[in-house]
């Protein structure tokens, strides 16, 4: 199995998955509406009651972005699980194609969907009064962070989809992904939480990503958070990428 066939196979699978994404109008519409609705909700409904120093929109954008990414990854998890419970994966797996190409297809489609959602979040945020202070260099760095995060969470979701196998179970997993931002510094600073929850909030992977993005956009202190964020993302990738390829390629025992 050469590198060039791996690339060829992956390209075919990317075309497949991207096509599939855009042909599910319902899911696609939800994915587009979600950033808009959440933004309006958090800024205009909850925002008034929040005390994070300054305009709440300036605080909340990274968190909303990750919330949407969690939703997007949930979709990925479900569509991988759907694939696994459909006959077509048996056909793929009985063909001499590269073990990870089906996953690569799902991942690329996932990243594309997420980047569209990200662009929407940023667009809507600017409309409702978000005023980032980032320099062009900060912007480039922040895009890098978003990309890395979206990539990591997509692979994680795909692996979960493979492991769980059924769309229903994968749906449950995506609920966790959607819930995780609430127990981070996405919507309120960790020091407003009870101490046991605060420990979790400060040490879960979303918090360093959020703090890094907020720092890059709003100039708040980043410190070592960027490194922790990168370590989480790289760590998740280092586990999920090989796990997904081998889970997909192996002979099932069931």
């Amino acid at each position: 199995m050469t590198l060039s066939t791996a690339v060829l196979d992956s390209r075919v699978m990317v075309t497949r998955s991207v096509r599939r994404s855009f042909r599910d109008p319902e899911a696609f519409f939800t994915a587009l509406m979600l950033p808009v609705i959440l933004m309006l909700l958090f800024v205009y409904v909850f925002g008034g009651a929040m005390n994070t120093g300054g305009d709440y929109v300036n605080y909340v954008v990274p968190g909303l972005l990750l919330l949407c990414a969690g939703f997007g990854a949930g979709t990925t998890s479900v569509s991988v699980a759907q694939d696994m419970s459909n006959g077509i994966v048996d056909r793929f797996r009985s063909m001499p194609i590269h073990g990870s190409s089906v996953m690569v297809g799902h991942i690329v489609a996932s990243v594309v969907r997420n980047l569209i959602a990200t662009a929407l979040v940023i667009g809507v945020a600017l409309l409702v009064g978000w005023r980032p202070t980032a320099s062009p260099l900060d912007w480039i760095a922040s895009i890098g962070v978003v990309l890395l995060f979206v990539l990591a969470i997509s692979w994680l979701a795909a692996t979960a989809g493979l492991l769980l196998g059924s769309p229903e179970a994968a749906n449950g997993f995506s609920m966790i992904l959607m819930f995780l931002p609430y127990v981070s510094t996405a919507f309120v600073p960790a020091d407003t939480m009870p101490s046991w929850m605060r420990g979790f909030a400060e040490h879960q992977p979303l918090t360093p990503v959020i703090e890094t993005l907020r720092g890059l956009w709003m100039g708040t202190p980043i410190d070592h958070q960027a490194w922790i964020a990168a370590a989480w993302c790289v760590g998740i990738l280092a586990v999920s990428v090989p796990a997904a390829s081998s889970l997909f390629g192996r002979r099932t025992s069931r």
Partner: protein, 308 residues
């Protein structure tokens, strides 16, 4: 004789449910081998093992000379699988499905396009080419599924119940395609519930039941294992029926229909002698017919145990 499939001692259990209990199987190159068995016999499980999808608990097999367990990639290069459940992408159109699979087989672009056109025509899908497969009827989906398997001529083609759910015309069509593939030298492992299908297509048939192969041979051999020709005699009344049962040593009897079936070798001499005997005994006979054992009879006889 070379064998495309050579399996020994394949075993598969789920918990303490033994699905395959040491299957030995040899499929001659260029032949059609049919696996026959009732629901739950393990046909799909065997096909999935041989198609590298499922790991057997024990046992080994070679496919076209490649070891199933140590070299699955080489096996995948020479096989094509049409599973029991359609393996198509329902969100994509028929044309997109075919093109995707052709590309995954690494056909050069132009050749891939050409092949897609040919297959759309061959499988009567030209009008539906741009429709999403999700909107297809069962028969159309099956045809597309088969077309995908034919993109590249495989050495070994698995067909797991290829005509289940097809109308008679589509079934004939599939049979025609299978025969054509055989002429092209493709070896086929076919599972089916339709005995007629095995009779029509298969060179050899194995009957799978309770995890083991309970009989194997050509259709004719299998039929002869449960006896040769029978002369079926329908009696006119219960009294004659009673005497026929007592004197003719029939192989099968049916009191409701007042019929007995007596084994013969099918020769005119024997039949004439038998008829003379009916006359002599003064039995009131309504009708006499000859019956050939069908594969159905073989199937029912051999798989009675599990149905009981």
């Amino acid at each position: 004789m070379t064998y495309t499939v050579n399996a020994t001692g394949l075993r598969k259990t789920y918990g303490d449910h033994v699905v395959l209990d040491g299957i030995d199987l040899a499929v001659a190159t260029g032949s059609v081998f049919s696996l026959l068995g009732p629901n739950g016999a393990g046909k799909t499980t065997l096909v999935r093992i041989l198609a590298t999808l499922l790991a057997p608990d024990s046992g080994t097999a070679t496919i076209a000379g490649h070891d199933l367990l140590s070299d699955p990639l080489a096996v995948r290069k020479v096989i094509s699988l049409t599973g029991q459940y359609a393996a198509v992408d329902e969100v994509l159109t028929a044309e997109e499905n075919l093109l995707m699979m052709a590309q995954l087989r690494h056909l050069p672009r132009k050749l891939a396009r050409q092949r897609v056109e040919d297959l759309l025509a061959e499988f009567d899908l030209v009008d539906a080419r741009a429709r999403r497969v999700g909107t297809f009827s069962g028969g159309m989906t099956r045809r597309l599924d088969l077309a995908i398997s034919m993109i590249e001529r495989p050495e070994l083609l698995f067909l797991d119940e290829p005509t289940t759910g097809l109308d008679p015309r589509s079934r004939e069509q599939v049979w025609g395609t299978v025969r054509q593939l055989v002429d092209d030298g493709v070896t086929i492992l076919l599972t089916t519930q339709y005995l007629e299908e095995a009779d029509q297509l298969a060179d050899r048939i194995a009957v799978l039941d309770g995890g083991s192969i309970v009989a194997e041979g050509t259709a004719a051999e299998l039929k002869s294992t449960i006896g040769g020709e029978l002369l079926r005699i329908e009696l006119a009344d219960l009294e004659s029926y009673g005497r026929a049962v007592a004197h003719l040593s029939p192989e099968r009897t049916d009191e409701r229909l007042l019929s007995v079936e007596v084994p013969t070798d099918g020769s005119p001499t024997e039949i004439v002698a038998l008829l003379a005997r009916l006359e002599r005994e003064g039995l009131a006979v309504r009708k006499v017919t000859t019956v050939h054992p069908s594969l159905d009879d073989v199937f029912f006889t051999l798989t009675e145990r599990s149905a009981a």
